[in-house]
Amino acid sequence: MNPFNYQRATAPEEAIHAASVRDAKFLGGGTNLIDLMKDGVEHPATLIDINHLNLTQVVATPSGGAMIGALVRNSDLANHEMIRHNYPLLSHGLLSGASPQLRNMATTGGNLLQRTRCYYFMDTAFPACNKRNPGSGCAALNGFNRIHAILGASEACIATNPSDMNVAMAALDATIHVQGPKGKRTIPFADFHRLPGKTPETDTNLKPGELITAVELPAPKFARNSWYLKVRDRQSYAFALVAVAAGLEMDGTTIKSAGLALGGVAHKPWHSIEAEKSLSGATAGPEAFKKAADLALSGAKPFEHNAFKIELAKQSIVRALTLAAQGQQGAQA
């Protein structure tokens, strides 16, 4: 690990000011950043410890939603009474990721900024990785690309976003609050993460020096009917091959509205507006769910080792929507 300066900030303004030096990074739980620093993938000259900022609360908003402080730990968020009750999809998604120890450390803001687990990005022994070393090429494109993207990829990068929390938040239409040298702004969740295009080194639309302060959830619609389905190589403590966050707002057997997002398939959480629209007004059942699955995967493009993901994603969508429609108690069967 390269040497670095360490500073502890006590207020967002102080942290943002401290981040104006070259190669500075904010440090939250550190579960991803410290790991990547040990591997030589990340080498910040300054770490600004933001763990003592007062961004640790989950509070109800006037519109009936929830405001989640950027430093709320993943385990605390998953177990927060309001989140469990109103947004079980988020609790379920969070608890599907990592291990209890890591969830105790990882923060909401940090989870948004998790970097890909593409082997060619994580291991500096591979010279070609446009995300790690822009212009060097993509070793995954013609390499072992079983875990890689099937949607929204580019010739420059076929990596996937590894987060489970992000998938649930995409389906819930969250909004991200940030503060930077030029003041505060909000970013709709769908606009926060980027597709790789020609600049895969940039994961998000955060501007230099901007600090995530909170994630806002709108008033809950899917409290009674949601499901987070994560398909992976082992049952626990593994990244998703495919993940589905499904939420349904039901009126009898009719779907009033739906939230649907996929993980493990793209450079960003894959929020399928077309699939959600097709579900609105439909009768809950295999026909509507299969149609939504086909729409969500339209335009999918496999690489040598990951063609299985297309059918896996479709079937996972149908299963997640089926379990969501049954409601929480339906899962006991």
């Binding site: 390269n2 300066n5 410290i34």
Partner: protein, 241 residues
């Protein structure tokens, strides 16, 4: 990434030597050897690109090693240390406080051998900077028993002993710290993904499936898992009785 002034690898090694030789020369020698051997074998395996990548990473090291004062309350005892900012909590415990119970397995938060309890929560000490832990209360495996004899073991320690929940024992300190925190979490009704999958999202009981999921951050390469589950199950039941 711009090109900062390059500090050659040899300087880096000398700095390490100065700062870390004092408490344990043996540790240093072994680590240096392992590191050198690792670079050598990687070089053999992949040829020149590996070395080029390593040099790029070194070139990005823009600053010289920085020191920081850290106070940790470890197993009830306050300890003040001056550490390189890069020092993890695990290395602070093992190399600077001679508390070698917490183990370094993968050093990447994947195996759980380094698990300690920080301000009441189980964490991977290998991914926690000592600087970030400054001011925290830490409990390690050394702090769980209330004395030196076998009757002083904590309930989880006794259960691991009674159920033969280990073979080589390397992962055991992490397993025990993790299980100790697990029982506390369960008292507060925390959920796991199994709670959702079984539909028990209100005060879930510690079934074997719940125990397995909640212990999934601790790997046992001897695969003593059946006995680990039995030990945690027994400790959970006696805690409820």
């Amino acid at each position: 990434m711009s090109a900062p002034p390059c500090s050659p690898p040899s300087d880096y090694e000398e700095e390490i030597l100065e700062t870390e030789l004092t408490p344990g020369d043996n540790e240093f020698s072994r680590r240096t050897f392992v590191k050198a051997a690792g670079i050598l074998s990687a070089g053999v395996a992949t040829g020149v690109p590996r070395i080029a990548a390593a040099e790029n990473a070194q070139a990005a090291a823009a600053t010289t090693p920085q020191k920081i004062s850290v106070t940790l309350k470890v197993n009830g005892k306050s300890e003040s240390l001056t550490l390189d900012t890069r020092t993890t909590l695990l290395d602070a415990l093992r190399e600077h406080l001679d508390l070698t119970g917490s183990k370094k397995g993968c050093d990447h938060g994947q195996c759980g051998a380094c698990t300690v309890i920080l301000d009441g929560r189980r964490v991977n000490s290998c991914l926690t900077l000592a600087a970030v832990a400054n001011g925290a209360e830490i409990t390690t495996i050394e702090g769980l028993a209330h004395g030196d004899d076998i009757d002083s073991l904590s309930p989880i320690q006794a259960a691991f002993f009674q159920h033969d929940a280990f073979q080589c024992g390397y992962c055991t300190p992490g397993q025990i710290c993790s299980a100790t925190a697990l029982l506390e979490e369960q008292k507060h009704g925390t959920l796991s993904t199994v709670s959702f999958e079984t539909g028990h999202t209100s005060n879930p009981q510690l079934t074997d499936d719940e125990i397995r999921e909640r212990m999934s951050g601790n790997i046992c390469r001897c695969a003593a898992y059946p006995n680990i589950v039995a030990a945690v199950r027994a400790a959970a039941r006696s805690a409820q009785a």
